[in-house]
């Protein structure tokens, strides 16, 4: 019963059996991991993927089982990583789906352009960004990632490569479609012009949840980027206390004269610490340690600071500085829970924050954000309102039942949870959360009648 290796160098792509998990490192399943190096090899992989189908995978940053396919094929797209063309005057880029946002920043920043949307990590691929229709700190201004996709090429189950334009049903099903409409091969993106590779950041503290929501509501529109780190272990009157960090790309004249940053304003600088070791025990992140961290993090933040210059990596991707930070949760892994409830449903948000706080979930990566207008993808996550994301160790007793209760509350408030982060939702909840689900299913049934594209997420939720 050993894992056998399949290599067919004559025509097929490189492939071998492996167990695969998402970023949360829960629920591993076995699959044939295929690494196409060309579009032709990708087409061969899709044609040959057998009865248990296939799914594209990028850099594996989806927290749950979205890019796993037990017993079938997982197409590792990261070898398709060419940036084909940059229109420096017009601000667009044509690239392969396996290109990471990190690579795009390396290429584009020196040219004075930035990716239109970045999540909390640069290590996601363009294909994954479209499949999950990711959002960033600028959602209230710019919308989700696929709003900035001008065109994409999709390898569908019949082996055809289709050029898909925004505004078509296939585009809206693919945007946020979790890779279930086909394999994205290339995409053309509209870019954001920048004068420097620095961010001008305002930081302020909010003493409790109501204070936080009031500040976000009143002044979010002044900032292109806005997010709040929230202390979910704080109790009593401090429940929901937070640190807001908001800002925009720094204009050139904001950079001090005669500084290194002024001489090379568009240099993309990052720093990385050593990787987290793989053998950490579970339970390092307990209520005590996380409570201490949260207290320090809150106290360390300035009460008010304006116009501080920060690197792009510091502002957007602090955790990318610690490779494999997900290992800090130990072997048991962790669950990320992200939901959104609409404007006017603040009471549901307050109630959920109170419940999490009362339960003392040790969460140090909790983030609250105000979303802008909804995005066109049928399974896109954002709706106008409030989104809260938090990480919780999977081994916390009773966590499954507790999150089920939160699901009920979110659904009652007309909200939803984010599929790219999900690893535990009940399938019954899905239709209430995603009203376009039937359209999505109908399009898939027509486009892919044999069900070639399937993932563990799709099986678990009967997508």
């Amino acid at each position: 019963m050993s894992a056998d290796t399949v290599r067919d160098t004559d025509r097929g792509p490189d492939a071998d059996w492996d167990t695969v998990t998402g970023w949360g490192r829960t629920a591993p399943t076995g699959a044939l991991v295929v690494r196409p190096r060309t579009y032709e090899e990708a087409a061969v992989a899709v044609r040959d993927c057998g009865v248990r189908g296939g799914i594209a995978r990028g850099l594996g940053r989806a927290y749950g089982d979205a890019a796993q396919n037990a017993g079938g094929a997982v197409l590792d797209m990261t070898a398709l990583d060419r940036v084909h063309a940059v229109d420096v005057a017009g601000g667009t880029v044509l690239c392969d789906a396996g290109v990471s946002l990190h690579r795009l920043m390396e290429v584009l920043l020196p040219l004075g352009w930035f990716v239109p949307v970045t999540p909390g990590t640069r290590y996601v691929t363009v294909g994954g960004a479209i499949g999950a229709d990711i959002h960033g700190k600028n959602h209230h201004v710019s919308g989700s990632f696929t709003r900035h996709v001008l065109s994409l090429e999709l390898l569908t189950a019949d082996g055809r490569v289709r050029t898909v334009a925004p505004g078509t049903p296939l585009f809206d099903a693919t945007a946020g479609g979790m890779g279930l409409t086909g394999v994205i091969l290339t995409a053309t993106l509209r870019l954001q012009p920048v004068e420097t590779a620095l961010m001008s950041v305002d930081t302020e503290r909010a003493g409790d949840l109501d204070d936080l929501m009031a500040r976000l509501t009143a002044t979010d529109h002044r900032y292109r980027y806005s997010v709040a780190w929230i202390d979910l272990l704080a109790r009593g009157r401090a429940t929901g206390r937070a640190v807001l960090t908001r800002g925009d790309h720094a204009p050139l004249d904001a950079v001090p004269a005669r500084s290194r940053a002024r001489r090379e304003p568009l240099a993309f600088r990052t720093s990385r610490l050593p990787a987290t070791p793989d053998f950490l025990p579970g339970g390092l992140l307990s209520r005590t340690t996380v409570g201490l961290f949260n207290e320090l993090w809150y106290r360390k933040a300035p009460r008010v600071s304006r116009g501080r210059l920060q690197r792009i990596s510091t502002f957007f991707h602090p955790l990318d500085g610690v490779p494999h930070w997900n290992r800090v949760y130990g072997r048991g892994g962790f669950v990320q829970y992200q939901f959104v409830v609409g404007h006017g449903r603040e009471e549901a948000l307050r109630s959920i924050v109170r419940r999490i706080s009362a339960r003392r979930c040790p969460s140090f990566l909790a983030v609250l954000k105000r979303f802008g207008a909804a995005d066109p993808g049928w399974l896109s996550f954002p709706v106008p309102g409030w989104t809260l994301a938090l990480d919780i160790p999977a081994g916390l007793p009773g966590l499954g039942a507790f999150l089920d209760e939160l699901d009920e509350e979110v659904a009652r408030a007309g909200g939803r949870v984010y599929l790219a982060k999900d690893s535990r939702l009940r399938p019954e909840m899905l239709a209430a959360m995603y009203p376009r689900l039937d359209d999505f299913r109908a399009l898939r049934a027509e486009l892919d009648p044999r069900g070639v594209f399937v993932s563990d997420l799709a099986r678990r939720l009967a997508l």
Binding site: M1, W17, T19, P28, G30, R52, G64, A70
Partner: protein, 251 residues
Amino acid sequence: MKDAFGLPQSLLVLGGTSEIALATARRLVARRTRTVWLAGRPSPALDAAAEQLRGLGAEVRTVAFDALDPESHEAALGKVFAEGDIDLVLLAFGILGDQAHDEREPLNAVRVAQTNYTGAVSAGLVAARSLQAQGHGSLVVLSSVAGERARRANFIYGSSKAGLDAFAQGLGDALHGTGVHVMVVRPGFVRSRMTEGMEEAPLATTPEAVATAIELGLRRRSETVWVPGALRMVMSAVRHLPRSVFRRLPV
């Protein structure tokens, strides 16, 4: 598919009237499990078990399965897996036998061995192959502390569980890296129909406690689960006792 906490959506019980298995099934149905297959010899007890689980909201089907007829295992289990993925196979069949009686009736003793060991070898391998093909799932094998060190008082049962335990451990290693997880559960004395009227051993437990331990083991992706957990320490001491001492123990 199992979720992040190892909770299955579909369950196949081999030995569908086992009290431990049904306690586990009830617990899992209350969490995530929607589809349950109960495999066992057709009987009113099997139908009653199915009815009870249906009452909890699961879709339950029964399938004829006889541990003593290994030739039929392929067909019986093949039928189940053909209907869809199975996230958890609970290998729960087994008989205790009557040690004193069986020592005088070797054919009865063989029946214990065939049910608990060779029947499980066949069913375990058939299930493992299907699980490996689907690339995911857990195989939970109900072993026993009795298999850790055979006692004078029940070495026929104990030796059959020793064989089962060793088989399941090896199978778990063979399946390592395939996405399939094998978990060996070693309960101590469980108060159930099987042990009715017997004198209770120390650290006795209940089917519900075993079910709780199985749920926890699934979440942790454990390979070995002792119920109660203290038995792990107790048995590691017992394992090292000299024979002459062990023989005289009043257990």
